[in-house]
């Protein structure tokens, strides 16, 4: 177990490759109770959040979930989050590592017509991810999960436990996230473990989760997004609504988009067997053109080594051949479009 955001978290259970296989072919179960959960209520929530984030909040439909990025004045990412518009309240799920920082930021900007509660300590989050997630969960709940669209949420009971059930995830597979009272978490985990045997469910840790999200081309805060990496640099342009009324960092992002030419996150595949890791230098000839931000072998690509890198604009086109420096040796790599992996539909 490793300390992570104030929680003791399992990096792996059976092993990252086994857990990865379970999620890609059957189902995996993640304990994500370390993630920050803030609940906002009041008339002004959507307007308030729209002023702090790049994606549209006001236009969210009831029960909809939407990926969003909280920005700083320079357009850099304070955090990326999923915002859920639930019945009479909004749930904001932030990264564990940023939970305290985000709480302070949100409280400092809280308008009179919004109430914010940090429920992280009282709530657990269990994610079921993988193609057989629906088959596992449907018999255990009164909610109609097959009618639940991707990036929507509903409320119901799961194995008798009241839950907010969202069709969201961070693995590139179909799946559900279950927000439940902390006191019910162990019992639900055990029930799901028992019931999950019929679909090949395996518990999966943070190690597998990181490989799964990287294959799916999803950013991880601290790697592809940071205070000094903007959503545009991270390639998250579709989520940046510059036509939205003023929000923190909007001017900086508008300037960046208009100016172009900025360093950006790209996907890379390595020719050789040596994995690229965060921090390694990326070269084109004698020029250092960037730095690896995440790297891992990709089981979904037959073990091929994949990576993300923050590189100069002129080295970012798919097909560009670059070199990654690994322990003093140069290794060939190619820029490719993200994601590395798309689930079969």
């Amino acid at each position: 177990m490793s300390p992570f955001g104030g929680f003791l978290m399992p990096i792996q259970y059976a092993g990252i490759l086994d857990e990865h296989r379970a999620v890609r072919t059957a189902a995996g179960m993640f304990d994500l109770s370390h993630m920050g959960q803030f609940v906002a209520t009041g008339e002004g929530v959507a307007r308030w959040l729209d002023g702090l984030t790049v994606n549209a909040v006001e236009t969210m439909k009831p029960n909809q979930a939407r990926y969003n990025i909280f920005t700083n004045e320079h357009g850099g990412a304070r955090d990326d989050a999923i915002i859920y518009r639930l019945n009479g309240r909004w749930l904001i799920v932030v990264n564990a590592a940023n939970s305290e920082k985000m709480w302070r930021w949100l409280i400092s900007r809280l308008p009179a017509d919004v109430t914010l509660v940090d429920r992280t300590a009282d709530f657990a989050l269990i994610a079921i991810q993988g193609p057989r997630s629906l088959e596992l969960l449907q018999p255990l709940t009164d909610a109609d999960l097959s009618a639940l669209k991707y990036y929507y949420a509903t409320e119901g009971t799961v194995a008798g436990v009241p839950a907010e059930i969202a069709r969201t995830g961070y693995t590139g597979e179909d799946g559900f996230e279950l927000f439940i009272a902390a006191g019910a978490a162990q019992q639900l985990w055990e029930t799901l473990t028992r019931e999950g045997a019929r679909v090949g469910l395996q518990p999966a840790g943070l190690g597998a989760r990181d490989v799964l999200r990287l294959e799916a081309g999803m950013p991880l805060y601290g790697h592809e997004l940071e205070e000094d990496i903007t959503p545009l640099q991270a390639g998250l342009d579709p989520f940046v609504k510059l036509d939205k009324p003023g929000f923190v960092g909007k001017e900086a992002l508008a300037r960046q988009r208009a100016g172009g030419g900025y360093d950006r996150i790209v996907g890379m595949t390595m020719d050789g067997r040596a994995p690229a890791r965060a921090g390694y230098s990326v070269w084109r000839g004698d020029e250092r053109v960037g730095e690896i931000r995440s790297g891992s072998p990709a089981p979904a690509l037959g073990g091929k080594n994949i990576a993300t890198a923050l590189v100069r604009a002129d080295a970012s086109a798919p097909g560009t051949v670059l070199e990654v420096e690994i322990r003093g040796q140069r290794h060939r790599a190619s820029v490719v479009s993200l994601p590395f992996y798309k689930r079969p539909r």
């Binding site: 092993g15 990252i16 190690g207 490989v211 067997r273 040596a274 994995p275 891992s296 072998p297 322990r327």
Partner: protein, 129 residues
């Protein structure tokens, strides 16, 4: 956890099978199990000289890069091509087909700096808390 009695060990979790003035080197069952799925092994080439307790290569699991230290000073004579092609062999047969390198020893007397199985067991017990 498997811990053969006839091998010598380092506190960095390498094992050594001594044979006169040569040795076979690998990593222990405890090490492979702690690392998890091993995906890459990078060892010095045959002919390279290594120094006792200095880094000689790396082993990488899916998420982690770990240094491998030379248990003894000497010259690498063989690198296990099987584990370069199939690193998971280190997981499945850490004391057998998953060996890493063979070397000739510069000074067989350095073996006194290594741990026997009982002493290594204590290192593992301490690490496991």
């Amino acid at each position: 956890m498997e811990l053969p009695q006839d091998l010598l060990y380092t506190k960095e979790h390498e094992w050594v099978k001594l044979d006169g003035t040569s040795a076979i080197i690998g990593i222990t069952d405890y090490a492979q199990s702690s690392l998890g799925d091993i995906v890459y092994v990078e060892m010095p080439k045959a002919g390279v000289t290594v120094e006792q307790f200095k880094q000689m290569g790396v082993i990488e699991s899916v998420k982690a890069v770990s240094d491998i230290f030379a248990p003894l000073s000497g010259t690498i004579t063989h690198v296990n091509g099987d584990v370069e092609n199939d690193p998971a062999k280190v997981n499945s047969e850490p004391y057998g087909g998953g060996w890493l390198v063979k070397m000739t020893l510069a000074d067989a007397g350095q073996a006194k700096n290594l741990l026997d199985a009982a002493a290594y067991q204590k290192v593992v017990d301490a690490a496991a808390g």
